[in-house]
């Protein structure tokens, strides 16, 4: 009798392929992991590294929710084998802000109301960041093209495009400062209920 295979779990099928020791660099930190070749980067980010900001949706490359940057390129973590990422720096949504100071693109998303339910947002931010890294002053058409592989079911595309186009102007003022709305300051906290 075989035990049921468990991905990443302690029980392994008798014929399971040996794990490989892989060094990944995620958001500037190095990790050494023993992983099966069949595991996607998405699984490893979420299950092994606890980086659940990268979202799992279609698992077929058709929604963009799991977009991350690998060696600076926007790719789909659900279709990327983790073992193939050895030696290539990976950036996830957790690595976009500088501590509590949001990236200008994140600030632009807040200011333009580009976040609705929020589930597509990490993928949108990474797709937008990949564009801004290559083209610091994109047009609205270029921004729309850059997020054309990312689905938003709240259909807030107009605000997302606006946010990407306006991000460069935010980059110009005081980078690295904490923003209103981050955990350090309070304008977005719920006010106390009065009597």
């Amino acid at each position: 009798m075989h035990s049921e295979p468990q991905v990443g779990g302690a029980l392994a099928r008798a014929d399971a392929v040996a794990k490989r020791l892989v060094r990944l660099e995620v958001n500037g930190a190095g990790y050494e992991l023993a992983i099966e070749p069949r595991r996607s980067l998405l699984e490893v980010l979420r299950a092994d590294l606890g980086l659940t900001g990268t979202k799992e949706v279609c698992l077929l490359g058709a929604c963009g929710a799991c977009t991350v940057l690998v060696a600076g390129r926007p790719v789909l973590a659900c279709l990327t084998l983790a073992v193939a990422c050895e030696g290539k720096p990976i950036v996830t949504i957790e690595g976009v802000a500088d501590g509590h100071a949001l990236h200008p693109l994140q600030r632009a998303f807040v200011e333009k109301g580009a976040v609705q339910c929020g589930f597509c947002t990490p993928g949108m931010i990474l797709a937008g960041k990949a564009l801004l890294d290559r083209n610091p002053h994109p047009t609205a058409a270029e921004a729309a093209e850059a997020i054309s592989g990312n689905l938003c079911r709240c259909t807030g595309y107009a605000q997302i495009v606006e946010a990407i186009v306006s991000a460069p102007s935010l980059a110009a003022d005081t980078p690295g400062q904490p923003l209103p709305g981050t955990l350090d300051s309070g304008p977005y906290l719920m006010p106390e209920l009065g009597e």
């Binding site: 799992e56 790719v75 990327t80 084998l81 850059a146």
Partner: protein, 334 residues
């Protein structure tokens, strides 16, 4: 999360090393480039290779280069984004850049490669489904069963899954040649001949062979070309139908020998519509002739009900896109 079936993983860094692995592992191994076609299919249980040979570190196959004699040479590992952005491709074969850009989404073009596009598996609404979905209906021809589920009476013994690669369709119109290498040697064949027309086994690659590159002859650089794609949304989707045209006409709009119309997304291969070329050759391009040619393309495109869009609509769109492609050619000649 639906896990992929287990496999052994190899990451060769040279072509010879990759060919050695393919020779040794043969039919049990599958080469993988960007993984954008293979990984979803593995997740759905359509493929369970014992070994995956990742080609991502074979940098020698990434090159895109122009040579006045050899023409445009594109390495199999060049990504679709690189082809769409390449200055030589855009200058000499803008329709090839356009076809590469028409594939999938920015992320898929960032990952997907030319070799992967040429070797794209055929697709069908009865095939590209989860294991559970397919289990309720039993196997089709492509998954080892006896009959095609998409055929009108369900009794066809042939697979009609659709070949949907935008770039490959445009490259066939560009009279491209594909190079395959194995430990046994190298062969080069016309890309049109690379496709079998059999949905279950769409191309002629042997299990130990690797597609290493594709080339467009230099003489094609001053031939007009275009690629039109019709799909549900303007991004992500495979074509409901695609039409590629190359055509050389003189100042009097008389069509020369260099004319090819290729239809993608409706049959199991990039469909070269010879009847259109025969009709146009030596004739002067005008609206009446364009209408005749478009009707011939429609007649040749015979889809089954196996992708998005019903059969009549797909044929109507082949007609319309052929008309538009030829009008573009006419405007170009004037």
């Amino acid at each position: 999360m639906q896990a992929l079936p287990a496999f052994r993983y190899f990451a060769p860094t040279s072509v010879d090393e990759a060919l050695g692995l393919l020779a040794e592992l043969g039919g049990e191994a599958m080469p993988a480039a960007g993984g954008t076609d293979l990984v979803p299919s593995m997740r759905q249980g359509l493929f369970a290779p014992k070994s995956v040979i990742s080609l991502q570190a074979v940098d020698a196959l990434r090159r895109i280069g122009w040579d006045d004699g050899a023409g445009l040479e594109i390495g199999a590992l060049a990504t679709l984004r690189e082809v769409a952005a390449d200055a030589e491709v855009r200058r000499r074969f803008p329709f090839v850049a356009r076809a590469a850009h028409a594939v999938g989404s920015p992320q898929l073009r960032e990952m997907g490669t030319v070799g992967g596009n040429l070797c794209l598996d055929t697709r069908c609404t009865f095939y590209n489904q989860s294991q559970g979905w397919r289990d309720t209906r039993g196997a089709c021809v492509k998954t080892g069963g006896e009959f095609c589920k998409a055929s009108p009476n369900g009794r066809a013994r042939k697979c009609f899954a659709v070949f949907s690669a935008d770039l490959a369709t445009a490259l066939v119109a560009a009279d491209a040649r594909v190079t395959l290498r194995s430990a046994r040697g190298t062969r080069t064949l016309a890309l049109a001949e690379f496709y079998t027309g059999d949905g279950a086994k769409p191309n002629a690659r042997a299990p130990d062979e690797l597609v290493t590159g594709v080339s467009i002859p230099a003489r094609m650089q001053d031939v007009f070309g275009t690629y039109l794609k019709y799909r549900v949304r303007q991004s992500i989707d495979y074509p409901i139908a695609g039409v590629a045209l190359t055509l050389r006409a003189d100042a009097a709009r008389r069509v020369g020998d260099e004319v090819r119309l290729v239809v993608g997304g409706v049959t199991s291969r990039p469909l070269v519509v010879g009847a259109v070329a025969e009709l146009l050759r030596g004739r002067s391009l005008d609206d009446a002739l364009i209408e005749q040619a478009a009707a011939l393309a429609r007649k040749a495109a015979t889809p089954l009900a196996n992708t998005a869009g019903d059969r009549a609509h797909r044929r109507e769109m082949v007609h319309e896109m052929t008309r538009r492609a030829l009008r573009e050619a006419l405007n170009h000649a004037q």
